[in-house]
Symmetry: C2
Subunit: 428 residues, 2 copies
């Protein structure tokens, strides 16, 4: 396709420019391949901080980068903004939304996941999930609009529902959302309203499992729960949500009226396995071999949330950014070895660096395995680590500036309600 | 309405939290009134920099502030997020979108304007205008998407249309948009694409009148035109657009195919005059008396783009931010005088500080009346002036940081295509 690379060199097509796909591209620098990177969005997203966009702390452009700009110096890479419609694995061909096709020698599926409702897709309009920038700005609008509507509401029951925020799922995203919404209500907003006391907002975090942050050690889970409760979050463990409507949720037999429900409970992999007609687990992740290839197709790799990889002890590799990056690096190594005629690298082996989550603006929990941290020190470490992993000096400065303002003055500047429909007339 | 102010004090209702409405609020600080400020958006917008959001230079939250946050210390002010449906001027009552009503003693209409198509409202889908944050992010998406589609386009004619950007109207917004799009295409984007040469993009600025920036002196207009042409903008003066479709525009008998058309040609005032059933000019601006009151209703003021005010020499007060602010200050002064039982202030007299516009990132024109500036010095002055007028230290730092990056490195970080529909599945 490209006029600037050798047309007959080995063509690697990578679908998805998340952490896994981009890492593959980076690790293939200088390899004797030409690369086509396909994503249906024009930006790479730093998902670990997406909850901060949803809670008005950061602007979308602070955690997203144009994919093209990241790869502008890589003349071996062609970036395409396109959706994949189908894959013909025998013809080694990807079909795009405009009907055009891209042939590949090697294919890397790094297509990620989206939130899932365990067979209750009809809940989505009432309980939006958080995977994209559009999700985040939509949730931000819902949260802010609930307070706005509460300010004007005379009916007591409606007011109570508007002042109740339910988060379903107590993994890192759910915990971080609950903690930040609590701080928004307790610290940022109180002085702004005249009729309501935003400090009286109820934040209810519902988790079907027995504890918050189940990936962490039990004492850290207990600490996270206590910290959330100190921020005023009601933590409801061991309670599955059985109903979700415009009025609120039903969980553990109880009905909770709530105008705002956010879904942080489950993911559903991309249709990568369907495209290949290959075996998948119950949430759609492609079951790959220990070398991350699709069964019977050594030229097709799947990584990140699109794949399910078993570890030697039988547990799956977790669906987090470091895992996707390690898998991306492994795939690049495997491709390089093949093209050089060398032996394939040993099966992929995941190295778990640790788990972490913040609870509000002064506490965090970090589990490195060999050491556990919690409290303020962990929170500072979390902050520096995240700024370090952001791409580019400008974004680091910009995020640091915003966090400084939140830390020192409780001001969250990205408190914008947008997307209210563009066709409105000029009335205020 | 408010429980924190004296219910029987004089109630001033202000509709619209733009430059005029906010200035009225600020100048009424400490006056014996309670204030209700109604806006259908939750944010005050710094419209002079809106074109920078549309061209991926700034993030929306850098030029918008939550109205509540700006007024958090003003316990005499209640802010309502609501649309106005009607005004009963005899009952002195405003009716809102939820059916509730707000009674006023004094009403200030500061409801602004929206772009207008001179009787061709059907052109709007093809040629969006720029008045709100949603407009700006939608235009940003269109510009970036045109380059993305061009990168994948094989057909020569379609490619030419995708690489053509038409801006209708050569006032400050049109000139600034054209100059910035030219720089985006010439400086920011070239290295990012593999198939197209973005430097070959055509930017066509069409103006029905005889010159660009008609509010400025003729020599500055000529300088602006030359500067635009040096950036590669085709400036077509004295040519009215007579047709606007999904294929492009027709102007001066010529057909110009273009995938992206932006409307910067005219404004239409808010329906304030209709609400009052009062005389308006041809673009809907309420004809106010020299003291800015509605005819026959001394308790109703109209300011900013919602009103048309004649100057002593017959020319109208221009629809720019400083004019709206002066009018807002005047109205506050008039309200204070009435409540104090003092004589009304003399008729409103507009003081014109000057006109200015930037052309790309190193040139600007400024006309102060007593002195004219152009070139790099004017550009620096323009930049410092705009940073000075931004509200809050954080936003000033943040905008300065972004401009520094654009100036030094040609990187525009807010290059995000969003709002592509949220219901899509997880494929990339």
């Amino acid at each position: 396709m490209s006029t600037r690379t050798t047309a007959n060199s080995h063509h690697v097509v990578i679908i998805g420019a998340g952490f896994g796909g981009l890492e593959t591209v980076h690790r293939l620098a200088g390899a004797p391949v030409r690369i086509t990177l396909i994503d249906r969005r024009n930006h790479h997203l730093f998902q670990p901080l997406l909850y901060q966009v949803a809670t008005a702390s950061l602007a979308p452009s602070e955690i997203a980068w144009p994919i093209r700009q990241l790869l502008r110096k890589r003349l071996d890479v062609t970036t395409l903004l396109a959706s994949v419609e189908a894959i013909d694995k025998d013809a080694r061909r990807v079909r795009l939304d405009d009907g055009s096709t891209v042939d590949f020698d090697t294919l890397v599926l790094a297509t990620g996941a989206r939130h899932a409702y365990f067979g209750h897709d009809d809940w989505e309009p009432f309980a939006p999930g958080l995977k994209t920038l559009e999700d985040a700005t939509a949730i931000r609008g819902r949260i802010l609009l609930a307070f706005e509507r509460a300010e004007r509401e005379a009916d007591e029951h409606k007011l109570a529902a508007l002042m109740t925020f339910v988060i379903v799922g107590a993994g890192p995203t759910g915990v971080e959302l609950a903690g930040t919404i609590a701080e928004l209500a307790r610290s940022t907003l109180p002085a702004d309203f005249r009729h309501i006391d935003t400090r009286k907002a109820r934040i209810v975090l519902i988790e079907a499992g027995p504890r918050a942050l189940p990936a962490l050690r039990e004492d850290l889970s207990a600490y996270a729960k206590r910290s959330l409760e100190r921020l005023g979050v009601e933590v409801e463990l061991g309670q599955a949500v059985t109903e979700c409507t415009g009025e609120g949720v039903v969980y553990g037999g109880k009905t909770q009226a709530a105008a705002t429900v956010i879904w942080a409970a489950g993911v559903q992999a991309s249709p990568a396995a369907q495209w290949l007609d290959a075996p998948a687990d119950r949430v759609g992740r492609l079951k790959v071999a220990p070398d991350l290839t699709a069964p019977g197709h050594p030229e097709i790799f799947a990584i990140g949330d699109a794949a399910i990889v078993a570890r030697p002890d039988g547990r799956p590799v977790p669906g987090i950014a470091p895992a996707a990056k390690q898998e991306g690096a492994y795939v690049a190594q495997a491709i390089r070895a093949r093209l050089a005629g060398e032996a394939a690298p040993p099966p992929f082996r995941y190295k778990h660096a640790g788990d972490l989550a913040t609870i509000g603006k002064r506490r965090a929990v970090i589990d490195f395995g060999w050491i556990q941290l919690r409290g303020t020190l962990a929170w500072w470490l979390w902050g520096f680590a995240h700024i370090y992993f952001l791409i580019g000096v400008r974004n680091r400065l910009s995020v640091a500036l915003n966090w400084l303002w939140i830390y020192a003055r409780d001001q969250r500047s990205a408190r914008l309600i947008t997307q209210r429909g563009e066709a409105e007339g000029p009335s205020p």
